[in-house]
């Protein structure tokens, strides 16, 4: 059971890391990446629920595991939609920031020094 509890704490740490990135990263694609970190951390926490639910001949509870598989695919679909939205925003405004000031001051050809 040590492995499963450890995996749970790993998941908790991943949620924290992802949350930090989500707030700090200015680039929307990196925000998306951080959000996926949060997601996989939550899946991992759910994974230890599955592991703890072992009963009978099963070493795990198959229901949460099946839901995590579904969840991973749905998370990917949502990420793809988010990427499409970011790219369209870039095509329309030349920037990828939701902050009106930032997108006017930083055109695509602005200096690379930032």
């Amino acid at each position: 059971m040590i492995a499963s509890t450890l995996a749970g704490f790993t998941g908790a740490a991943l949620v924290g890391l992802g949350l930090y990135g989500l707030i700090i990263e200015p680039h929307p694609l990196r925000k998306l990446l951080s959000f996926n970190l949060v997601g996989s951390g939550v899946f991992l926490v759910f994974g230890i629920v599955a592991r703890r639910g072992a009963s009978g001949s099963y070493a795990f509870d198959p229901v949460p595991q099946a839901m995590v598989i579904t969840g991973i695919v749905v998370a990917f679909a949502a990420s793809a939609l988010a990427v499409a939205l970011i790219l369209r925003l870039y095509a329309e405004t030349g920037g990828v920031s939701l902050d009106a000031d930032a997108s006017t001051s930083a055109s695509p050809n602005s200096d690379a020094s930032g």
Binding site: A3, A7, F9, A13, L14, V15, G16, L17, G18, I23, I24, E25, P26, L29, R30, L33, S34, N36, S40, F43, V45, G47, I48, V49, A50, R51, R52, G53, G56, S57, Y58, D61, P62, V63, A66, M67, V68, I69, I72, V73, V74, F76, A77, A78, A80, L81, V83, A84, I86, L87, R88, Y90, V96, S97, D99, A102, A106, A112, S113, G114
Partner: protein
């Protein structure tokens, strides 16, 4: 006393460190590469949790296909390179964000430590489903996905279709009906084409194998669909294949085939068998395999379309 607990601790430390690398990386590309490595390590953690099916899905979809999606998106944003958005992140905000993160981790950790001891479990019901209506499936995960929680699985395919519809709708109206932009601009690079020629036939065989053994062993429709989708994306990235025209009838039919067949079988179950999404006992297994095969087709088409993005007129030759 075995060496396994030590390995578990090392693995957990490695996962957290690589995740930290994803956040701390200087460039987007470095962040995505470290995210892909992170996904593969996470798959090992899933193996340690006795979840090989989840490990396969995490490695294929969570790490692989998501990595391709983000790298492609990064390439399309290339004109921005280094440019924006450079809102200065102050020390105060960093501190506050760190505090929020630590708090979230702490609360979750406490919740994990306090999980009820005789853990609630649906395993007995799932075992009953695998033995009864799930009929003849040795892999309990597949039994749950197809039989015990079949409605969820069907709706999840609908989510994929909705996402594809959403991605297509985001394109400019003038571009409706054309192809999405090519995945790789420097597409005809010989090493990539060689890789595609060597890898794709092998990958397709493995993909079909993963589907076929999924009834009794780790594997199944999701993992197989993701593998086959990855092979198609390798073809697109090497320039051997173009993303399909979004107006094409065959593309659209392939997209909806999975949930449509699943739903039809489910409704038929209400008439022929014991209820909605119940399978007639005598030929449950062939029926389930048929439904899964069609779902593999839909997943194989949906994932690359999601990565390819909205239609774009510039992609037209």
């Amino acid at each position: 006393m075995s060496i396994l607990p030590l390995l578990d601790i090392e693995l957990a430390a490695l996962v957290v460190m690589v995740a930290f690398g994803t956040i701390a990386a200087r460039t987007l590309f470095a962040a995505v590469v470290s995210y892909v490595a992170y996904g593969l390590l996470l798959a090992l953690v899933w193996v340690r949790l006795f979840a090989p099916d989840v490990a396969l899905t995490e490695a294929a979809v969570g790490s692989g296909v998501t990595g391709v999606l983000l790298i492609t998106a990064g390439k399309r944003l290339v004109p921005l390179r280094g440019g924006l958005p450079q809102a200065k992140v102050g020390r105060g905000l960093k501190l506050a964000a760190g505090l929020v993160a630590v708090l979230a981790t702490a609360v979750l950790s406490v919740a994990i430590a306090l999980l009820p001891d005789p853990a609630p479990s649906l395993a007995p019901q799932a075992a009953a489903a695998a033995a009864g209506p799930g009929a003849g499936l040795g892999n309990p995960i597949t039994a749950v996905l197809i039989s015990y929680r079949s409605f969820d699985t069907m709706l999840e395919k609908v989510v994929l279709i909705l996402a594809v519809t959403g991605v297509w709708s985001i394109g400019r109206s003038a571009d409706w009906g054309s192809r999405p932009a090519t995945l790789g601009k420097d597409a005809s690079a010989p090493p990539m084409a060689l890789l595609a020629r060597l890898l794709v036939p092998l990958g397709v065989v493995i993909g079909v194998h993963v589907f076929w053994v999924g009834a009794d062993e780790p594997g199944g429709a999701f993992q197989s669909g993701a593998l086959l989708a990855a092979m198609w994306m390798v073809m697109m990235m090497s320039g051997l294949s173009e993303p399909p025209r979004i107006g094409g009838r065959s593309v659209r039919l392939a997209l909806i085939a999975g949930p449509a067949v699943f739903l039809t079988v489910g409704v038929a179950g209400a008439v022929v068998a014991d209820g909605f999404f119940a399978f007639p006992r005598s030929f449950a297994k062939p029926l389930i395999l048929f439904v899964e095969a069609v779902m593999v087709l839909s997943i194989t088409v949906a994932l690359p379309l999601l990565v390819a993005g909205p239609p774009s007129r510039e992609a037209e030759p």
